[in-house]
């Protein structure tokens, strides 16, 4: 009995040791980023002794980044893009998914097949013809191009449909007998029930749009159209040794995504589990 207890304690110790190791590996780059963002360029790589918080923290790195490059403009563009894309994605995906999951109509399978057939198609395969087409439509170097590109994904429809199929049909039937229109059923029954799926899709879309690099790199050429990622990359290539400023900009660029993730994460595991993302 005693040895079993000892064994259990030993097991716990190992688990906590692993956990702490993982936490350190996961978090050190972020702590380093925070630390370097308030250091001077000389202090950044100082090892003996290494300090996390320098004697004279250079808080003004966080002010300088706004004037050295048009950081405010980049933030504005990114916020604008991300909010519109996430909103459109949630709205149109859940709308279409409701139809595919809960309604019967002609050509349903054919239409859904179009989504299924392209869900595995990497964007990188058709990004070039897409750009040529957008350029013809006069959308080159326009934020609108980025919205068109990211707002209508097969993935969103597919994910929401999987989730709706888990909701009993009886709920909709009962509402139909009560005389509710399909739009009412969608808005007042389905949407409130789909918080986990909507949260999951929000995290995916928000993170993907906010952090996108290749899309904006292809489309957004002029300085005043650039997003944070492009702006930050541009800054890094121009001032590669201004480590303090680079890190301050990096910290700022991470905050919104982390906030969205922290707010919605309690639904996340549930969302992934219930939408069949686990296969």
């Amino acid at each position: 009995m005693k040895s079993a207890h000892k064994k259990a304690v030993f097991g716990k110790v190992i688990i906590y040791a692993i956990l702490i190791l993982i936490a350190v590996v996961m978090i050190i780059p972020f702590l380093w980023m925070l630390s370097a963002s308030i250091k001077s360029d000389r202090e950044v790589f100082q090892m003996n002794p290494f300090v996390w918080i320098p004697a004279n923290p250079k808080w003004d790195n966080y002010l300088k980044i706004w004037t050295k490059i048009p950081f405010g403009r980049f933030v504005g563009n990114t916020v604008y893009l991300t909010l519109i894309v996430t909103f459109l994605q949630l709205l149109t995906s859940s709308f279409a998914a409701y139809s595919f999951a809960k309604l019967n109509f002609r050509h349903k399978n054919g239409l859904f097949l179009a989504y299924i057939a392209t869900i595995a198609m990497p964007w990188q395969v058709y990004m070039v013809p897409q750009f040529i087409m957008m350029r013809r439509m006069g959308l080159n170097d326009k934020l609108l191009a980025m919205i068109c590109l990211q707002a209508f994904s097969a993935f969103g429809v597919f994910m929401m449909k999987q989730f709706y199929e888990g909701i009993p049909d009886d709920l909709c039937e009962a509402a139909r007998i009560d005389g509710m229109s399909e739009y009412r059923i969608y808005a007042s029954i389905m949407l409130p029930l789909s918080k986990p799926a909507l949260s999951t899709l929000t995290i995916f879309t928000f993170v993907a749009t906010w952090n996108d690099y290749l899309g904006p790199l292809i489309y957004l050429k002029s300085q005043e159209k650039k997003t944070i990622q492009l702006g930050l990359k541009m800054f890094i290539s121009q001032y590669s040794s201004d480590y303090g400023l680079i890190m301050a900009g990096s910290v700022l660029s991470l905050i919104p995504v982390l906030v969205v993730f922290l707010v919605l994460q309690k639904y996340f595991v549930e969302g992934v589990a219930s939408t069949g993302l686990k296969g």
């Binding site: 688990i15 906590y16 692993i18 956990l19 993982i22 936490a23 590996v25 996961m26 978090i27 780059p29 380093w32 790589f45 090892m47 709308f95 279409a96 139809s99 019967n104 109509f105 002609r106 179009a114 392209t118 198609m121 990497p122 990188q124 395969v125 058709y126 070039v128 013809p129 897409q130 087409m133 068109c148 209508f152 994904s153 429809v157 399909e182 969608y186 952090n211 690099y213 290749l214 292809i218 990622q229 990359k233 890094i236 290539s237 590669s240 890190m247 900009g249 990096s250 910290v251 991470l254 995504v257 982390l258 993730f261 922290l262 994460q265 595991v269 992934v272 589990a273 686990k278 296969g279």
Partner: protein
């Protein structure tokens, strides 16, 4: 206007739900995809008239050393990243599925790298692994006594793919952990109780309960990982790209070559033929997935 039949009315309501997404999807996804297939057999610089090229774009591929390097690097990156990420995320999920204090905090922390932007976080990695000044090489030099001239150059030459793999594992393990967590939570606790009664130890429980029960999750994770590895671009650009973002043969990947051929050389047809190679790779993995799923559903 004549009265619509009930069925037509029903269809119209259904279509009205689908239309906003479907129209956008058709214009911005379906049409470009069709265009991409056609373009692979054309010669075009984007402004002059399009010329038919037949299979010449594809025959060019096999003699193009830069393409072969890109293809090879993508495969090596994939072969390194997929198993390592799978093992790391499974281990993480198993540990975080135990009843431990601060479980929520640890789960959140391990997800941070996934949501963090590549530009920001690769900037940190380039500092941590800086060849002459970074703390990693500093530790190698001072603690492990690696001679100065033998310190690893993490972002050039032969090591660059290794750095990319290491970085990817770190960045994406949290994401696949969530998928594994969902899988673990679907395993009935009765199975573990039965295994305990039979006297199974921790390893045996993993080997004979957890692992087989997770087989469909593992299958999904491996497929997703493989496809995502084929699409790698940003990581290579951020970690190994020069000032203006160009890659040498030691770090070039397929998507970079698609980008370069199209937007720098304006050789659109050839670029599309590289894209077709990427497509075929993904298609191949997807077919394996469908087959595997069908087999599983039969069983």
């Amino acid at each position: 206007m004549r009265k619509l039949s009930r069925q037509t009315k029903r269809d119209l309501v259904a279509y009205s739900f689908i239309a906003p997404n479907f129209i956008g999807f058709c214009v911005f996804t379906l049409i470009p995809i069709i265009f991409a297939f056609a373009l692979a057999f054309m010669k075009w610089d984007g402004s002059n008239p399009i010329q038919w090229a037949g299979l010449s774009n594809f025959t060019r591929l096999w003699k193009d050393t830069f393409f072969i390097a890109a293809f090879k690097n993508t495969i090596i990156y994939c072969v390194g990243t997929v198993p390592l990420t799978m093992i790391a995320s499974l281990a993480l999920a198993i540990v975080l599925n135990q009843k431990v204090i601060g479980r929520g905090v640890f789960r959140t922390l391990s997800f941070f790298p996934y949501v963090a932007s590549l530009v920001a976080i690769t900037a940190v990695w380039k500092m941590l692994f800086h060849p002459s000044k970074g703390p990693v090489n500093n530790i190698l030099l001072n603690v492990f006594n690696v001679p100065q001239d033998q310190l690893p150059q993490w972002f050039t030459g032969g090591l660059v793919l290794f750095s990319m793999i290491l970085f990817s594992v770190w960045k994406y393990m949290g994401y696949y952990m969530v998928i594994y967590l969902a899988g673990l939570q679907g395993i009935s606790s009765e199975l573990y109780e039965a295994a305990s009664l039979d006297g199974a130890n921790t390893w045996q429980k993993f080997r004979y309960v957890t692992w087989p029960q997770l087989s469909s999750t593992t299958f999904f994770v491996v497929v997703m990982l493989t496809i995502n590895c084929f699409k790698v671009y940003d990581i290579a650009i951020m970690l190994a790209g020069g000032g203006s973002g160009e890659l040498t043969t030691s770090a070039t990947v397929l998507v970079y070559y698609i980008y370069q051929k199209a937007f720098i050389d304006w050789d659109l047809g050839y670029s599309s033929s590289v894209a077709m190679v990427l497509f075929l790779m993904v298609l191949f993995v997807t077919i394996i997935q469908f087959r595997g799923q069908a087999k599983r559903e039969k069983a």
